[in-house]
């Protein structure tokens, strides 16, 4: 099967010179900084997206931070991370020796935070690109950027000015009109968008009469959100000219293909990394097998024709 993936043209361009060997990436917050995944076949990965990184180290939220929901999970990690300095000094040099590109996911409370991280990582060997998490629902005020097209554009523009790195903006689904936010960040200079981040949700411990998570609410990920994520990608792909990366509940090759058929140029696997570390390889192989069976020899042929038309139906 590996053989098959190798014979097909499954390379993906994300703009600004960022090219991936394949369309399967791992999503932010589900793969650490790439070091804690002994069972993963790194050669199957198009890219690794790191945990959300802030200017200074963060301790994260008090436990309980996660809970299970039907076909999904809630998390409120609170951006625990070692800070950009540690990332640039300790991690990037190691990444520089890897074949797989590493994209740093960036988070913060203020535009200045994002700019600071972007500046620090600009030109650092081993850092292949940035993904702006403008949608983390767990940090006070962090929610704002992704909810408002104007704010999202302002943030994107500021980071765009601060770095030559390829720039992906990760969209939140907790909005009335995700396409409006997508259009705004495209106009502001984003090279690509990724969609979606988690849905805001909560669970209550009925026996103890209190929310399961210490923060009350958290972000919902996993198969449960797949139909909504797919709808978002379908709409974005129809309306934007920059590449759309599909994320949300992907666990099987068929799930990934739904996103590629909906118009995504690549996908990110998140929660499934916790469940089956071998999924990334399986998904890549499954995509290759599908292309082979349906006689597609490159990914660009996959999207369903008429996506643009049907998205308006």
């Amino acid at each position: 099967m590996r053989f098959m993936a190798d014979q097909l043209d499954i390379g993906v361009g994300l703009g600004h010179g960022l090219r991936l060997r394949g369309p399967v990436m791992v999503a932010s917050g589900t793969f650490g900084y790439g070091f804690d995944a002994p069972l993963v076949d790194r050669s199957a990965l198009g890219a690794i997206v790191t945990k959300g990184t802030t200017p200074r180290p963060r301790a994260g939220n008090a436990p309980t931070r996660i809970a299970e929901t039907p076909s999904g999970m809630l998390n409120a990690i609170g951006l625990q991370n070692p800070g950009v300095e540690h990332v640039a000094r300790e991690y990037a040099p190691i990444w520089a020796s890897w074949e797989v590109p590493v994209i740093v996911n960036v988070a913060g409370d203020a535009i200045q935070d994002y700019v600071e991280v972007a500046r620090r990582l600009d030109g650092v060997a081993g850092v292949a690109g940035l993904e702006l998490n403008i949608s983390c629902p767990n940090v006070v005020n962090g929610l704002q950027f992704g909810l408002d097209p104007r704010l999202a554009a302002e943030l994107t523009m500021a980071v765009r000015r601060a770095t030559e790195l390829p720039l992906i903006v990760k969209l939140t689904p907790n909005v009335t009109d995700i396409v409006a936010v997508g259009r705004a960040v495209e106009a502001a200079g984003a090279d690509a968008v990724s969609a979606i981040n988690t849905y805001v949700g909560m669970a209550i411990d009925v026996r103890r009469r209190r929310p399961m998570l210490s923060r009350g609410s958290g972000g919902v990920s996993g198969p449960a959100i797949k139909p909504m994520a797919l709808q978002a990608v379908w709409q974005l792909a129809a309306e934007l000219s920059i590449p759309v990366i599909g994320i949300g509940g992907i666990t099987t090759p068929s799930d990934a293909l739904e996103f590629l058929l909906a118009g995504a140029v690549a996908v990110q696997l998140g929660t499934v990394n916790y469940l089956r570390p071998e999924s990334t390889r399986e998904v890549l192989d499954g995509i290759a097998q599908y292309m082979h069976q349906h006689r597609f020899n490159n990914l660009r042929a996959l999207p369903i024709r008429g996506v643009r038309a049907m998205a308006h139906a």
Partner: protein, 264 residues
């Protein structure tokens, strides 16, 4: 080191004490690699669940290639596991985390509350195998929930029950008061029990650094990537149960801010 995410056959299923299930699986690489106190993430196929469930290896035998898991049914995942028929496979990821440090000053004192006992058969076996003197203090709601003392061959076993139906009528932590020495303690149980253990240790002038605990917090990945298994550290910030633990020295934990796991 993790040896595998692999299918292991369930070769035996039994009831080690009232309400609990013991699953014995056959998986030689895991049985050889696991250290006492380490855990595995077990995949469960219960409807609507997605996360793996963390379970300590209760014991492992490298020669037969077998290892055991002991647990009670608290929710959908454990109910599914408890119904796994012999001959079927269970999907193991592990061994994971850090086990106990087995060397220390005799006697080794094991303090187990409720299902916290599940981690100890293999630990005690290993301690005894090193020639150590071991006392096991077992606490349970009632006599029926006590693990049989022959699971701790070579160790002295004392028991306490909430209802007085066997041994001391009260908390297992009370039994510590009668111990002489006790500067190498291994504890596992519900958070309130561990907190009581810390209070008792302070009263008895036992340094928390001489207590090792096996923590239980909700887990996502079990391998350090989700940051979901945080436990408050005494030095500030958070420890990760799956990386810094589950077995660690009690003085590293901020017990005042330690929440109990979902089912306490």
């Amino acid at each position: 080191m993790i040896v595998a995410a692999a299918q292991a056959e369930v070769v035996e299923r039994s009831t080690p004490m009232s309400g609990a299930t013991e699953l014995v699986v056959h998986h030689p690489p895991s049985a050889s690699a696991v250290q006492p106190g380490q855990f595995f993430q077990l995949a469960v196929g219960a409807p609507h669940t997605i996360l793996r469930r963390p379970y300590s290896a209760a014991w492992a035998d490298p020669i037969s290639g077998r290892l055991g898991f002991i647990f009670n049914v608290v929710g959908a995942g454990s109910a599914w596991l408890a119904n796994l028929p012999e001959g079927h496979d269970v999907d193991l990821l592990g061994p994971l985390g850090r086990g106990f440090e087995l060397d220390g000053r005799d006697p080794a004192i094991v303090v187990a509350g409720g299902l916290g006992v599940a981690v100890f058969p293999g630990v005690v076996r290993a301690l005894v195998a090193r020639g150590r003197r071991v006392t096991v203090l077992l606490g349970a709601r009632s006599v029926a929930q006590l693990m049989r003392s022959d699971r701790f061959a070579g160790a002295e076993v004392k028991v306490a029950t909430d209802d007085g139906s066997a041994g001391h009528h009260g908390s297992v932590v009370d039994l510590l008061l009668d111990q002489v020495g006790g500067l190498d303690i291994f504890g596992c149980g519900p958070t309130p029990m561990l907190q009581a253990l810390m209070r008792a240790a302070r009263r008895l002038d036992i340094p928390l650094s001489s207590i090792q605990v096996a923590l239980e917090t909700p887990m996502g990945c079990g391998i350090g990537t989700c940051l979901g298994c945080a436990a408050p550290g005494r030095a500030g910030g958070y420890l990760l149960t799956c990386q810094d633990g589950p077995c660690l020295r009690a003085d590293r934990i901020d017990w005042d801010h330690m929440t109990d796991a979902f089912h306490g």
